[in-house]
């Protein structure tokens, strides 16, 4: 566990995985944490990937080596052994740490923008593309008279050009 203000004073300016600085080479899941029941352990692993290590940055508890992450890993396993469903385990943590603990954001009014945003951009972009084709189609219809028919020589040159360009 890190005393807070010191995270800002850490030497070494670029500090990838700040958490590593405090983990005395303990790395992620430890052998003594692993459950005997492989099915429960698999569930614990999967669940751990969706839980944020609160004191590290954007790391899940499964790959983090902070002490709090270890506590949470053990806690998750205890609750699973006690018969909690995956959702119940997550709810338990959310009750204490809020939605911040979830790496997979919940779907609720505050996150509508997050979940619908990509679809909205796609829709907007799709409409813009459709409008583009419609407008260009109209321009072409009402635009200058179509190019007169080409004579054989021109056609040959055009084909050669198109072939060359089309291949590039």
């Amino acid at each position: 566990m890190t005393p807070r203000p010191f995270t800002r004073l850490l030497p070494g300016l670029l500090m990838p995985l700040a958490a590593l600085a405090f983990a005395w080479s303990a790395l992620a899941v430890e052998p003594d944490e692993i459950l005997d029941d492989p099915e429960l352990e698999a569930r614990a692993r999967e669940l751990s990937e969706d839980i944020r290590c609160l004191v590290c940055q954007n790391e899940n508890i499964d790959s983090s080596n902070a002490e709090l992450a270890k506590d949470l890993r053990v806690l998750v396993r205890e609750r699973l052994v006690a018969g909690d469903s995956d959702q119940q385990v997550l709810d338990y943590l959310v009750e204490r740490y809020g939605d911040f603990v979830l790496l997979n954001p919940p779907f609720k009014p505050q996150t509508y923008l997050l979940w619908f945003g990509p679809a909205a951009i796609l829709l907007l972009g799709g409409l813009a593309v459709a409008a583009y084709f419609r407008q260009r189609g109209r321009e072409a219809g009402a635009g200058p008279a179509p190019t007169p028919d080409l004579n054989a020589e021109e056609r040959k040159r055009l084909n050669a050009l198109l072939k060359d360009e089309g291949r590039a």
Partner: protein, 661 residues
């Protein structure tokens, strides 16, 4: 003394950049040829001055001149020479100087290679480029001066973070910066074009090689960073959707869109407004990335020491550069004349789809990265992690890859989709077979992973089919095919390589995410463990000593069905100066998968915590990225791009009859 020369050179560079940013611009507006002519020598002089400054700082690192605060804080006399040199950019001030050096290098390169550019365009491009330099030179001099002295001079330095003392990470920032900063050229061309009010095929032809260069370096830089995380962080992950990763990924996505839309401008004189916007946005995203990494705005695992004041300075620069260019865009874009027409189903249409999906993907990464900040402003703490990004990667990435296979088969202007798909019959058959094989080998497995592998195979076979189509393989005598293959333009090979690289990389990403196997346990020397069919025998642990660290090295012998495969020697190091441990994973690659071993703590009773991972197809991920970079290089060597467009208004398709949907 040398440090003072470096500092002085940096100040002179700022003066030169101010001149270069104003005189040629005014000259272009008023038609003064001699004012415009200032741009080229000024760009070259600016580069030489920044280079002088950079070399001065490097010299201070090499001789360990701890009277410079920057050197004292980030270097150490016992550090290996390689890391003394690369330590120059392992910190905020030095990396900013590298950023500026690359910016100046690109400016000088445009000045040097831009002989065939129309004088006004060249003057304006170099002016815009210089104005960006002015901003960042001022930033460096006023807030992040690397040449600051300290007194009393410390006896030794505080050393570089040991995680950065690694060849992969040492060269990751320069590559990334060449990528980020390289997009400034596309940006400068876009702004210059808006000022001139003219975009045509020739413009696109000048912009494309620079964009391609930036793109291939960014690709290499991201891959290198990812590779570093993979072998250094000790659990075999290669992408974490961390904000700092995301901000490098966004310019990559946009830059990829730009590369493709610029083709449409060049060949068909269409999508001009959109391409200009993309050029502006791509560089804007690079700037925003620089801002986020250096301001501490978002929490990230690898952020620079943050300083809100510096953040504010860069924010002001952002407002001027991005805000200014977007205003210019809104004012001037309507003046750009629409060009060639095309039907929705056509090569152009395919590229529009590519652009749409890439833009939406960029937008999604952007929303996901920024959401915690916006939520926090409304007093709601939120995390957006890998599950969110992975979901949307699949939603937008998979269709993109599916379409990517078909696009190159569509002719320009108007295409027959059924006909194109007809030419893909063989590829479709092979893809189906590959999908079945994957399904059989993995006994089902996650559906999405099977879909991913199948689509990777689809892209791979379709890209090969496209090449076979071009050289008319099996339809004409092999010799004739060979001669056709030799005569194909290099840009075509560039596309083939890059698309195949993408297919290979996607296969690697999918397989390593879906079918990774691992074993975590306490082992004693002499014990064996089996992971994914391989037998790992834990032989011993030895204590070693490096130049600036201590190490405990474990040794494993790996066998497959009794046959020796490899010896793995993972290390656990301790760097006394920074009091920091690191893990050095041992990786043996079979080409199909990586065998990955990590050694942890001793349990004090003769046992050691050991982690062994089997990482399927991860080598393909790196190979795929390498192929993409090679594709970019091959394409860059194409004569037509190198020569540029000697004449304006050379758009060949303009003479074609207009057809519309």
């Amino acid at each position: 003394m040398i440090a003072e020369i470096g500092h002085f050179a940096l100040i002179l560079a700022l003066v030169v950049a101010i001149v270069q940013g104003t005189l040629p611009m005014i000259g272009a507006a008023q038609g003064r040829a001699n004012w415009m002519a200032v741009a080229r020598p000024a760009a070259q002089l600016q580069f030489l001055l920044v280079l002088t400054s950079f070399l001065a700082l490097m010299q201070a690192y090499i001789i360990s001149d701890f009277s410079l605060a920057n050197v004292a804080q980030n270097s150490h006399s016992a550090k290996p020479m390689l890391y003394k040199v690369t330590g120059v950019w392992g910190n905020h001030e030095g990396s900013m100087l590298l950023w500026i050096l690359i910016l100046a290098l690109f400016g000088a390169a445009v000045a040097g290679f831009g002989g065939n550019l129309p004088p006004t365009l060249r003057a304006r491009v170099l002016s815009v480029q210089a104005l960006i330099s002015v901003g960042f030179l001022a930033f460096s001099l006023l807030t992040s001066n690397p040449f600051e002295r300290i007194f009393p001079v410390p006896l030794d330095g505080r050393d570089l973070n040991p995680l950065l003392q690694d060849p992969g990470l040492a060269f990751h920032p320069p590559m990334l910066y060449v990528g980020y900063v390289g997009f400034s050229i596309a940006f400068a061309f876009a702004v210059a074009a808006l000022i001139e009010g003219r975009v045509d095929a020739a413009w696109a032809r000048w912009v494309r090689p620079w964009t391609l260069l930036a793109w291939l370096f960014l690709t290499a830089g991201i891959a290198l960073g990812s590779w570093w995380a993979y072998y250094e962080l000790g659990w075999g992950g290669w992408w974490f959707w961390d904000p700092v990763e995301n901000v490098s990924f966004m310019p990559w996505l946009m830059g990829t869109a730009l590369l493709h839309s610029a083709i449409v401008v060049e060949k068909r004189d269409a999508l001009k407004i959109w391409t200009i916007l993309l050029a502006i946005l791509t560089f804007s995203l690079s700037l925003i990335g620089t801002f986020i990494v250096r301001s501490g705005l978002l929490t990230s695992v690898h952020a620079f020491a943050t300083d809100p004041e510096r953040g504010l300075f860069i924010l002001v620069l952002l407002c001027i550069a991005i805000g200014g260019s977007l205003v210019l865009f809104a004012l001037r874009a309507p003046a750009l004349k629409a060009g060639g027409l095309f039907a929705p189903i056509s090569r152009e249409g395919g590229l529009v789809l590519n652009n749409l999906l890439l833009a939406v993907a960029t937008g999604t990464v952007f929303i996901g990265t920024m959401a915690p900040l916006f939520a926090e402003a409304f007093d709601y703490k939120l995390s957006v992690g890998a599950p969110y990004f992975n979901l949307f990667s699949a939603i937008f990435g998979l269709p993109l890859i599916a379409a990517m296979a078909v696009g190159p088969f569509l002719p320009w202007k108007r295409a027959d989709l059924a006909g194109a798909l007809g030419r893909l019959k063989v590829a479709a058959g092979l893809t189906f077979a590959a999908g079945l094989v994957t399904w059989y080998l993995q006994q089902g497995g996650p559906v999405l992973a099977i879909v991913g592998m199948t689509l990777a195979a689809w892209l791979f076979f379709a890209t090969l089919a496209e090449w076979a189509d071009r050289v008319q393989l099996f339809r004409i005598p092999p010799a004739a095919s060979l001669s056709r293959a030799l005569r194909l333009p290099r840009a075509a090979y560039g596309m083939t390589f890059a698309h195949i690289g993408m297919a290979v990389a996607v296969a690697g990403m999918t397989a390593s995410s879906a079918w990774k196997a691992e074993e975590v346990r306490v082992m004693r020397p002499g014990e064996t463990v089996e992971v994914a069919g391989y037998n790992y025998r834990f032989e011993e642990v030895r204590e070693m000593r490096g130049p600036n660290y201590f190490s405990e090295m474990g040794r494993f012998t790996v066998t497959l069905e009794g046959q020796p495969v490899a010896e793995l020697t993972p290390e656990k190091r301790f760097y006394p100066v920074q009091r920091m441990p690191t893990t050095e994973a041992a990786i043996h690659t079979t080409g199909i998968s990586d065998l990955y071993a990590v050694i942890g703590d001793s349990d004090g009773q003769g046992g050691w915590t050991v982690r062994i991972y089997h990482e399927p197809l991860v080598p393909w991920l790196w190979a795929g990225c390498l192929l993409m970079v090679i594709g970019g290089l091959v394409s860059l060597s194409d004569r037509r791009l190198r020569v540029g467009a000697p004449r304006r208004r050379a758009a060949p398709a303009a003479s074609a009859p207009a057809t519309a949907s």
